[in-house]
Amino acid sequence: MNLDFTPEDEAFRAEVRAFLEANCPPHLRGGRYTDLSREDLLTWHKILYRQGWVAPGWPKEYGGTGWNPTQRYIWEQETARLGTPPLVAFGLSMVGPVIYTFGTKAQKEYYLPRILSGKDWWCQGYSEPGAGSDLAGLRTVAVREGDHYIVNGQKTWTTLAQHADMIFCLVRTDKDVKKQEGITFLLIDMKTPGISVRPIITLDGGHEVNDVFLENVRVPVENRIGEENKGWTYAKFLLGHERSGIAGVARSKKSLEKLKGIARTEMAGGRPLIEDADFRRKIAELEIDLLALEFTDLRTLAAAAQGKPPGPETSILKIRGTEVQKRLTELTVEAVGYYSNPFLKGELGHNEGPVGPDYAVNVAPAYFNMRKTSIYGGTNEIQRNIISKMVLGL
């Protein structure tokens, strides 16, 4: 048992670090995970694309890096170290792997390069108003008509659909079988007539998610992934893929450092807040949670490096990862005291400079926004169901 990196790993780390230092534009550094524009996100995407590093998770033959799990872990550490922007997951981490695993030759040749280059921005058509955690309960219907499916229904919580060129959708193609067995996986051009997008404004005043309405949308049959009515298989594959990196350890470490910095600056009782016993304790408890999470993540990673597939025990990473993230935003709100209260975002415009310290801007909206993390991707309650059934056999 050891934590040692091989000399090759260390050389890889040095290479990555040098590249990031040299190529990540200063204004995109420092962990600006929200409030990035489409342009910002694409700028970074294209820098990585040119380097050939935009798809660390993909096999080499499809344009990925072919990195092993340890290298991907180092990559995550180094990007978090500098606070580079996130990559939008829907193409790279979600539909991409589905396409290269289950797609036809034509689908691979057409879509994968466009995902890699950033030409197509994807979004995800999974959730529906009536089907949240019970994903298979979806009701969007696709009816075959010659070479097309005619799709009708509504998707919701569609993140960044306002920027998207393509959407991958689960649709119902057979109502008379078990609900998991009548689902088909379609790739749909967002410019197809009949698609409309309506913003959902979230608690933090932000516009990140949307309703997507589909009305008599004609989708060519060649846009179907795999077989008709087998969509649930591909959907589950995608969800399993989505799970990796879900612990968010590197980012939470960065946020923890920020929090400590704030606590060193804020005053409480005439002394820095970080000398306040109660606040110290809360930070320490959270840091220990994060260490435990990190090593649970590393154990999963080490198992993956030995070729073991991720099991349902990764639900721990989702549960504890999101709990840590939420708690970090909560403590940051506490740390800034009254200055969590000014609200400069949303419809009232935010062209003015900050009220109070820079680091207090947006901490409350971030706290509100992060509530979503224990809801999306299968609520934490669902994750506990998974653990109790699949791991503990209850």
Binding site: L203, G337, P365, I375
Partner: protein
């Protein structure tokens, strides 16, 4: 020993509840918040008409001679309705300073205007370095002839953009964190040297950063004796803590009700969410927290007239309770609403935001725990 309400109190509660139902629904509230002014002055005029602005003042002062329990009843209903109007700054805080510490001429001059709705007050006390310590004050008031000249910065002054007058804490003596040497001043919000940067707050109110630069006030702008305002500030803030606790009662109960309603109708896996035992127990725990908020609110309200240590400990306990219960209830209410819980369109999120903001007001859970410890553990 009696925890029931008088017939008058029940009538008062009903009239506030009816007003909110008729005039303060989700869309109307949103429209007020989004309006340039951030509130609807007609609401305030109706508060005056209903007598709500007169409640805590004695009959001699032109009020209704209400008790802290009457104020509690009003604030509880405000909590259910997410009222944004400046009742706490104007009536509880401003009115409290005048009632309990103002000279008879100050009372005679100002209380009638509070009562008739023509005077809005804001309490400017917080300073950047002070966090939640009411005694940590850098703002100065220097004697200048018979009056004073004020200089300093006050932060996150709730309702300041709406206020006609500010009540400002300033040092007439002592060091930055001394409890002696603190004085209170009435300052005209439009006085020369007063400038504000106004902004909305996360919970839909308005506040401002207030800067005081060589602001001259006459001697009779001072509330109470020079340098001896701190006990009065503590007393009035304890009244405000009780008012917040009452608001929290309404807020917490409404969050539970909304969650029960939502989980009863929302189905997952062909069952209403309310049928899942884990969520049932979560709501049972939310209910326990609600009842504890109620219990500590009653305690603190009843003890507002108790000896100082008892009053302070009870108020601190109520504030701790509203903070931790607000977090538990609010976070779980949002979680149980699922995706809907994080949208602007559902009211639950707005309750959650108010609960979050309330936790910081006049000191968070940690602050009041420490206060409680000092009072109960020596």
């Amino acid at each position: 020993m009696d925890f029931s309400f008088t017939e008058e109190q029940t009538l008062l509660r009903n009239s506030v509840a009816r007003f909110i139902e008729d005039n303060y629904d989700f869309d109307k509230r949103r429209a007020m918040i989004r309006s340039p002014q951030g509130r609807d002055p007609a609401t305030w005029a109706q508060f005056a008409e209903l007598g709500l602005l007169a409640v805590p003042f004695t009959e001699e002062q032109g009020g209704l001679g209400g008790t802290p329990t009457d104020t509690m009843v009003i604030l509880e209903e405000f909590g259910k309705g997410l009222v944004i109007d400046p009742y706490l700054p104007t009536v509880v805080l401003g009115g409290g300073f005048l009632r309990l510490g103002g000279s008879s001429s100050q009372q005679a001059e100002l209380i009638p205007h509070i009562v008739d709705g023509s005077l809005i007050l804001a309490f400017a006390y917080a300073e950047r370095q002070a966090r939640y310590d009411l005694n940590d004050i850098l703002c100065t008031a220097k004697k200048d002839g018979s009056g004073y000249v004020l200089n300093g910065q006050k932060g996150v002054v709730i309702a300041a953009p709406w206020a006609d007058r500010l009540i400002v804490t300033a040092r007439t003596g002592g060091g930055q964190r001394d409890k002696g040497g603190i004085s209170l001043f009435l300052v005209d919000a439009k006085a020369k040297g007063v400038s504000m940067r106004a902004y909305p707050t996360v919970d839909g109110q308005r506040a401002a950063e207030v800067s005081l630069e060589n602001v001259s006030v006459p001697a009779d702008a001072r509330i109470g004796a020079e340098g001896e305002a701190f006990p009065l500030i503590e007393t009035v803030v304890d009244h405000a803590l009780c008012a917040l606790s009452a608001e929290a009662m309404g807020l917490h109960r409404r969050m539970l009700e909304l969650t029960i309603e939502y989980t009863r109708t929302r189905k997952q896996f062909d069952q209403p969410l309310s049928k899942f035992q884990v969520l049932q127990h979560r709501m049972a725990d939310m209910y326990i927290h609600v009842e504890e908020t109620v219990s500590t609110c009653y305690m603190a309200t009843i003890k507002l007239d108790a000896p100082e240590t008892e009053r302070k400990a009870a108020a601190a306990a109520a504030k701790v309770q509203l903070g931790r219960a607000g977090k538990f209830i609010g976070q779980n209410a949002v979680q149980l609403h699922g995706g809907m819980g994080v949208t602007e369109e559902m009211s639950i999120g707005h309750y959650f935001k108010r609960a979050t903001a309330m936790n910081a007001m006049f000191g968070d859970v940690d602050h009041h725990l420490r206060r409680f410890e000092a009072l109960t553990q020596g």
